[in-house]
């Protein structure tokens, strides 16, 4: 059992132990789950320090048989792609617990237990190297989030929770078909074996089969991302979820989709991925612009942040399907950035909701006078989110745009529009909420940060700056992993995917 196994086992065991604590002991439950999540986080730092850049392949590998026939392995390991996503999950879970400390009064035991279960699933998703195991974790993640939204959410929580569950479920059953199909062809669920089988030609897929499999995986991931037009579950789920739910949903769960695209869709189905890239990129660009425009007119802060996620995630998909090193690096970096800065926005909006009990922008105004520290932190987060240099999002967006420009300059033009629009809607919201006339309600209900809230925000702000100014900490493992994935995804299609007739012609040639 190595460190990575521990990181999955601790939240799993923690979940069961939490269920055993009597429900009256709310303080004990909170402290215990916080302890578990902090322990997991501290241990997960060992992944970063122990990770050796320059050593190709997965690290921290455990590979033992789980089920003998059909042969399913407990095969976990990390590379530069999953490394930071795992740490992001373990980093945000304690924050999710802390921001719910006072807010959750009803059925606290279940709430905190579900957060820990969520962490178990998330770490597992990013660590799994066996397709079956990946699917298991992928589905497990659904359950706690369904309950988090449905039980502790706002007014339309039930609708949002069911919609969230069914959307994801519909996508993932198609992925299950594809996984089984691959298993029947390859005789194994082991991802590394499947990849090498595909590469060496031991596993042959016809063009039609590859397209079908690609689409089955792609739809499951695209729903999770969410890619326009499959995004409609997201605003509902984000707005109705409690803060901790929105935080985990936006920061980590959306990344499951983009992670899946990079991890599975590109290397396994290189030809199909490149052939289908043109329309995927168009959808991504529509998502970027559409998300931003819709965000601009939202009267509700949480909904605004939710639609901004659609826009930001469009960047990630654009970077992935640009098939350039820079675009892919930027996409992965942007996944992490979005996790930090949008997560922070949800946390801050949550703090304000706890004070004012409203999410409507019009119910605020003049908050800067009443709560200067809150306003300052909110401003830093806003600036990070719109991509101000020296803060994290800038790096990711820049890389994505540059990578995209290498592939096709027209895309860059449209995508850059999203950056401008994001400045519009974020700053406009900031202005309406924090400046202007200070109303009586806001004045009396807007105390500044307390110690617990500081404890949540400081790590997030530190990360925004760190990831903005010193990318060397984070990027090298990512670049290395991406280079390998790009190499695997070199189908026999010309690099210039923008030209549809070239891709089509190639399809005939096969």
């Amino acid at each position: 059992m190595n460190l990575l196994d521990l990181l999955i086992a601790i939240p799993g065991i923690g979940f069961i132990l939490t269920l055993l604590i009597p429900r009256k002991q709310e303080q004990a439950i909170r402290t215990f789950t916080l302890g578990i999540s902090l322990l997991t986080f501290v241990l997960s730092l060992g992944l970063a320090t122990g990770y050796q850049t320059g050593q190709a392949g997965q690290q921290f590998v455990t590979d033992t048989v789980w089920i003998a026939n059909p042969e399913i392995h407990w095969h976990v390991g990390i590379d530069g792609l999953s490394l930071w996503l795992i740490i992001l999950s373990t980093f945000l879970t304690p924050i999710a617990i802390l921001i719910s400390w006072r807010y959750i009064k009803d059925r606290a035991k279940e709430f905190f237990a579900f957060l820990i279960l969520l962490e178990f699933g998330l770490v597992g998703v990013f660590a799994a190297w066996d397709l079956f195991l990946f699917y298991v974790f992928w589905e497990i993640v659904l359950v706690p989030m369904y309950f988090l939204i449905g039980i502790w959410g706002h007014d339309r929580r039930i609708y949002a929770a069911v919609k969230f569950f069914l959307y994801t479920m519909a996508g993932s059953v198609l992925m299950l078909v594809a996984i089984i199909f691959i298993y029947n062809r390859a005789g194994t669920f082991d991802y590394a074996a499947i990849l090498s089988g595909l590469e060496s030609g031991k596993i042959m897929l016809t063009h039609g089969e590859e397209t079908f499999l690609f689409l089955a995986f792609f739809v499951a991931f695209a729903i999770k991302v969410p890619l326009f037009p499959l995004h409609t579950w997201l605003p509902d789920a984000h707005v109705e979820a409690p803060s901790a739910g929105s935080l985990m949903l936006a920061s980590v769960m959306l990344k499951m989709g983009t992670y899946g695209l990079v991890r599975f869709c590109l290397p396994m189905f290189p030809t199909a991925a490149r052939e289908n890239a043109p329309w995927i990129i168009i959808l991504a660009i529509i998502g970027i612009v559409y998300g931003a425009l819709v965000a601009m007119v939202q009267p509700n802060m949480k909904k605004l942040v939710a639609y901004s996620s659609v826009s930001h995630l469009g960047f990630v998909v654009l970077g992935i399907f640009s098939f350039t090193q820079m675009g892919l690096d930027g996409a992965v970096y942007q996944m992490l950035n979005h996790g930090i800065s949008t997560g922070a926005l949800f946390v801050l909006v949550g703090f304000m909701y706890e004070r004012r009990h409203s999410l409507a922008i019009s119910d605020y105004g003049g908050v800067a006078t009443a709560a200067p520290w809150l306003s300052t932190i909110f401003l830093i987060t806003t600036l990070a989110s719109i991509g101000l240099p020296t803060l994290n999002n800038f790096v990711g967006e820049f890389l994505v745009l540059q990578g995209t420009a290498q592939a096709n300059f027209i895309w860059t033009v449209f995508a850059a529009l999203g950056v401008i629009l994001s400045a519009c809607y974020m700053l406009w919201m900031y202005q309406r909420v924090f400046f202007g006339e200070l109303s009586e309600e806001v004045k009396h209900h807007m105390p500044d940060f307390n110690a617990r809230e500081w404890a949540c925000m400081i790590p997030l702000v530190v990360m925004m700056v760190w990831m903005g100014v010193y990318t060397q900490t984070f990027l090298p493992p990512v670049t290395e992993a991406n280079a390998k994935i790009l190499d695997q995804s070199k189908g026999n299609v010309p690099l210039r995917v923008a030209l549809p007739h070239a891709a089509g012609g190639n399809a005939h040639a096969r």
Binding site: R23, I67, A68, N69, P70, R107, E110, F132, Y135, V136, F137, E139, I140, L142, V143, Y146, F147, G150, I151, R157, I158, A161, V162, F165, L166, M169, A170, V173, L174, L176, V177, I180, F181, Y183, N184
Partner: protein, 488 residues
């Protein structure tokens, strides 16, 4: 040659579960007038004891595999697997019945004796190697179940359920019997392995039409017994009307046994003409899943919803039959075991909620159960997750394995449509979770009594089993895979 009528020790051992249960059932009837007043729980305890002994007997029988009684019975892994399954279902049913019978003041030896006789029939069915034997087992099982469905004889719904079940059931049995007669006419035998040999011979091709008609007739009869579409019409009415523990039993025990003979007949005797019946099963599987799931979406009565869900689940097992491979058989065996656990567990919650006269069987009656009785609610959550097919539960692995088998047999569209169906199914199962956890407690949840020991066992044992099948499926699956060699 004169047959030898004195059974050997091995023969008796192979037949021991049936012997034990028959003796116990008869004993219960004798004890009924003596203890019905003083020790009403005694019958349940004795039934459980008998069922445990029968499991031991089935294990003993498995140590001397082979055929008995002039090749009428065959004890192989397949038979043993299903014997274990129906006996375990029997134990869980008895556990779930204590509270119900107590509330209705209807604890009699008769109820338990009928249950045991029904299980005797099922044990016979799954081990039968002869169409006549199958018929006898089916009738023993069915007649006992008809009576059980109308057990509370002063209850109108019980009467309706029993009558419907009886009339339609006899009709279906007649179809089956008709098919048996025609097969006998063609091949001159009722033994499954001999039919197979006869159908393999070149002479059989001349009477192909007759064989096809016979297979179709038997398909109708068996399709009714497993409540596969388009022969599912009876199931919702009967499951809704019958006493809740009996519904739980009917949806699992007789169904599992009926599937066992379905597989045995079609994969042993009719393997040769699989190309002919596969499309029929394909259509029936798809219809069952679709009708079951879409009809369940609109139900307000819990028992009726579970009835439609059981039709849908029969559809999944039919997918495994359509695959007609060893993997398909093993998948069906595993799935039926997982399904039995999750379904009895879900029905146990219904029994717990419903109260005297089954007044509270609406879905809304679950409102707020998660607040008032978190443990009961958590158990039901486990069963619902398994019914939806969420990983780490038996239901997921079973479903996965069934569709794995289907894809191996190149049933791509059936797999896609089946799995999309299971996404539809998620909606109505989720609705129970919504009502249970996200609604404020209603009158029913506020006045609910604590779990009785019997019901608690009927919840916890299936929950443990569900997780066991989901986390460590290898044990049961390995057994199923070793036993699923009907086609050879």
């Amino acid at each position: 040659m004169l047959a030898n009528f004195s059974p050997s020790a091995d023969d008796l051992l192979r037949f021991s579960p049936e012997i034990i249960l028959t003796v116990a059932g008869t004993l219960l009837m004798v004890l009924d007038p003596l203890f019905a007043r003083r020790l009403p729980k005694l019958f349940g305890h004795l039934s459980i004891l008998a069922l445990i002994l029968a499991i031991a007997g089935a294990a003993g029988a498995n140590s001397v595999p082979g055929s008995s009684f002039s090749n009428l019975l065959v004890v192989d892994g397949f038979a043993t697997f299903f014997r274990f399954l129906v006996l375990a279902i029997g134990i869980l049913t008895v556990l779930a019945s204590y509270r119900y019978l107590d509330l209705e003041a209807a604890e009699t030896g008769e109820y338990h004796a009928l249950l045991l006789f029904s299980i005797v029939g099922q044990c016979l069915m799954v081990a039968a190697n002869d169409l006549i034997m199958i018929f006898i087992g089916l009738e023993i099982s069915s007649i006992a179940t008809y009576i059980l469905a109308g057990y509370l004889r002063n209850d109108r719904r019980n009467n309706e359920a029993a009558l419907k079940y009886f009339l339609l059931g006899s009709f279906a049995t007649a179809f089956l019997l008709y098919g048996v007669a025609m097969i006998y006419g063609v091949t001159g035998t009722t033994k499954l392995d001999e039919i197979r040999t006869a159908l393999n011979s070149p002479a059989a091709s001349s009477s192909f039409g007759m064989v096809a008609v016979a297979a179709a007739l038997m398909f109708v009869g068996l399709g009714f017994k497993v409540s596969g579409a388009p022969f599912q019409i009876w199931a919702p009415d009967v499951y809704q009307g019958a006493p809740a523990p009996v519904s739980a039993f009917m949806a699992t025990g007789p169904k599992a046994a009926a599937f066992a003979i379905f597989f045995r007949i079609f994969l042993t005797a009719f393997q040769q003409i699989a190309g002919g019946w596969e499309p029929l099963v394909w259509i029936s599987a798809l219809l069952s899943m679709t009708i079951g799931n879409f009809a369940a979406l609109t139900q307000t009565n819990l028992k009726r919803m579970l009835a439609y869900s059981s039709i849908a689940h029969a559809g999944y097992v039919l997918v495994a039959l359509a695959a007609h491979s060893d993997i398909g058989t093993a998948a069906a065996m595993f799935y039926l075991a997982a399904y039995a656990l999750m379904n009895i567990g879900a029905f146990a919650v219904v029994i717990h909620m419903s109260g005297k006269g089954e007044r509270h069987v609406k879905i809304e009656d679950l409102a707020g159960l998660g607040k008032r009785q978190p443990v009961t609610a958590a158990m039901l959550t486990v069963f619902l997750m398994s019914l939806i097919g969420i990983p780490l539960t038996g239901g997921f692995f079973g479903k996965f394995y069934i569709f794995e088998a289907a894809l191996q047999s190149n049933l791509v569209w059936l797999t896609v449509l089946g799995l999309l169906n299971s996404a539809v199914a998620a909606y109505y199962y989720l609705r129970l979770l919504v009502v249970m956890y996200m609604y404020e407690p209603g009158e029913v949840a506020n006045n609910i009594e604590p779990l009785t020991p019997g019901l608690r066992a009927a919840l916890i044992l299936p929950a443990i089993g569900t997780f066991f099948l989901g986390v460590l499926p290898g044990v049961v699956l390995g057994f199923a895979q070793r036993s699923a060699t009907l086609g050879h």
